[in-house]
Amino acid sequence: MDAIVVEGLRKQFDPPKGPVAVDDVSFGIREGEIFSLLGPNGAGKTTIISILSCLLRPDAGEARVGGFSVTRESDEVKRLIGVVPQEIALYEELSGRENLLFWGRMYGLNGPALNKRVDEVLDWIGLVDRQTDRLEKYSGGMKRRVNIGAALLHNPRFLYLDEPTVGIDPQSRRSILDGVKNFNAAGVTVLYTTHYMEEAQEISDRIAIMDRGAMIAVGAQDELVRLVGERTRINLALDRNADILAERWRDLAGVSTVSEPEDGRLWVLTDDANSLMPRLFDSAQTAEARITEINLAEPNLEMVFLHLTGRALRD
């Protein structure tokens, strides 16, 4: 049985004319897994997190967390969850430790138990040495780590992370991703949202791909990749006539899709890259163009998104 169940969720802001942020979304999250919502900005990921955090009421549908309804039993749900919002939702004028103490008290912790737990979390997020500095003196990555730490103080059964790596350096991103895997290994069920395909691929047991409020696919990574078959993406750079060649290549046998050229760069989806590549070189030569760069990409979630929506994930 799924630990988190979402059924037919719908949320529209400023009805009746406002945008539909989430439209008939259903999925389940198993106990102990890392489940990612992958999609571009505006896909509805944060709205789902907000509903599962009891911040927003859905217009229709139901969501249950640990067996409790997010609308009717929100107090019980809130005791089970730790929420890491997308923005740094902390107090700049307080130190890292003071922030953790404050948020711990909001989760009902007090006294020696709270202090002990804060010490543990500071150790996890690697900020023991800087714990007495005011947050305004922290780097973006350090703030992100405190942002996560504040959601872990009460040992939540479920941890929601809403795009926790936005705007930080690669080192801090690595630290956060490793941390998420560690929390999960310790038994925490993780709901993770991101628009970075690589992150979803690296940490997720299962992934739900979202676009414009709808869930367009859900499953393990290999299950999703199979949706696009065995296609390979050939990335090319041309010195001239990219527009002409794109048109010609769309008619070539074995070509599935050709992207619109951008600054002489384009990509081609094919089932058989080995046989196609010589013909691409021939065609380029005929058009008096030269292929200056070429590489192959195996099927991934980016291609799944492209296959399902016709648009790149970053769009």
Binding site: P85, E93, Y107
Partner: protein, 422 residues
């Protein structure tokens, strides 16, 4: 309850770590009260320092039996009624008097010409060609305005009185003529006696009357005369407490924008407790502000606020009023910037109609009625009562009225906050 206090304490610390806010909460009201207190001296009722005045009386008189006009003017300036306003030094040399003003040893010199009496005793109005004129010179320090104006007003009043005597003499002479008196000496004597009688009356019943202000609490047995600084500080304290309250109240909107308020709502702490913590924070911030200002006023400005019990009650009441006003003005707003603009406008308006910028000394008449539409006006009334020696009985009505406003304001702000966040 512990969570409420945690939220409140966090907000109180946030406010008291902001230097700009501290300046607004403490330095501004103290500076204004201190500056006005220094300007008007440490005495009561906005009194000003006595004006140093030099009088040079060169009047030679108009003959035996007729009081010299110069002496009359000098007597008016040196009389007991002017003692609080003027410090008069008499000199003989006009140049020395002018030099005293030039050297800032005096604010104004009154130089009475030698022919003042004779000019007054010459032919009266409508009695043939105009007689000689006499000019009284006021030589004043151009940098000063209030002091010389007082001397000018007194001098003008005396001159009018003397001109009245002159008119009285002329009228008496015309009356004598109409009754058949033809002897020039008799007519002259009659005119002189009439003028002298008028001048004597004017001198014994001075035309310049200083109105003494009575205390606001007429029934208070022990009438106090609070100093200027304390009178000003009360108004400034109440006014700046509104801004002190608005700062933590705006934190609701700030935290919503920064994401900490939604995050708080994801914790098991009920929303009612979170908003309760905000309310307590606002109250504590202004309560501390009031306590500090009252203590500074007491020990640095010599303010005597009154009996401790009523002062404590009125302080708590003031903090509740300020907190409710701060919260209600923020509850309507959608952004911190909007809240700042709206609340500032409302606070200034309330300060104006409540008399916060005038201290407690100038309250009375219609204004005392008008200001009762504002809770600040009631508070000003209560504090004024205490400053002038009032006690429990004097603050019951102001406290009851102000608390009624507070209950309504808290209800309104709670309604809007709950509608938005509950």
């Amino acid at each position: 309850m512990l969570r409420v206090l945690n939220i409140a304490w966090k907000d109180v610390r946030h406010v008291y770590r902001d230097i700009a806010v501290l300046v607004m909460m403490f330095a501004a009201p103290l500076a204004l009260a201190g500056a006005l207190g220094a300007a008007f001296g440490s005495g009561d009722n906005f009194s000003i320092a006595a004006v140093k005045t030099v009088v040079v009386d060169q009047d030679e008189g108009a003959g035996a039996g007729v009081p010299a006009a110069g002496a009359t003017l000098t007597a008016s300036l040196t009389g007991p009624d002017m003692a609080d306003l003027l410090v008069v030094t008499q000199m003989d040399d006009p140049e020395a008097a002018r030099a005293a003003v030039d050297d800032s040893e005096a604010a104004v010199a009154v130089i009475i010409p030698s022919n003042l009496s004779s000019a007054l005793m010459s032919a009266g109005p409508g009695d043939g060609p105009a007689g000689p004129t006499a000019d009284i010179q006021l030589y004043k320090d151009p940098a000063l305005s209030v002091g010389p104006s007082i001397v000018a007003a007194v001098t003008e009043s005396v001159i009018q009185s003397l001109n009245g005597a002159r008119a009285a003499g002329a009228t008496a002479a015309r009356l004598g003529l109409s009754l058949g008196l033809t002897d020039t000496d008799s007519l002259s004597a009659l005119a002189s006696q009439a003028a002298a009688a008028y001048a004597q009356t004017a001198q014994t019943e001075p035309p310049v009357v200083l109105e003494a202000r009575g205390p606001v609490v007429a029934s208070a047995e022990t009438e106090k005369r609070p100093n200027v600084a304390s009178q000003v500080l009360v108004g400034m304290m109440l006014f700046f407490m509104l801004f002190g309250a608005a700062t933590p109240a705006r934190s609701v909107l700030d935290e919503h924008r920064q994401g900490t308020l939604p995050r708080l709502f994801t914790t098991p702490t009920p929303r009612s407790l979170i908003l309760g913590g905000k309310y307590v924070a606002v109250f504590l911030v202004v309560l501390i502000q009031a306590a500090v200002l009252l203590l500074v006023g007491r020990f640095l400005m010599g303010a005597d606020w009154g009996e401790p019990g009523p002062v404590v009650v009125l302080t708590l009441c003031s903090a509740l009023v300020a907190a409710s006003l701060g919260l209600v003005t923020v509850s309507f707003a959608k952004t911190p910037g909007q809240a700042g603009a709206v609340s500032s406008a409302i606070f200034v308006f309330l300060g104006l109609i409540s008399g916060n910028f005038m201290g407690t000394a100038n309250i009375g008449g219609t204004f005392a009625v008008v200001r009762r539409v504002s809770p600040l006006g009631w508070l000003m009334e209560g504090w004024s009562d205490l400053l002038y020696g009032g006690s429990w009985s004097n603050i019951v009505l102001p406290v009851a009225a102000a608390m009624s406003f507070t209950v309504v304001l808290f209800a309104v702000s709670t309604f809007f906050f709950r509608r938005r966040y509950a």
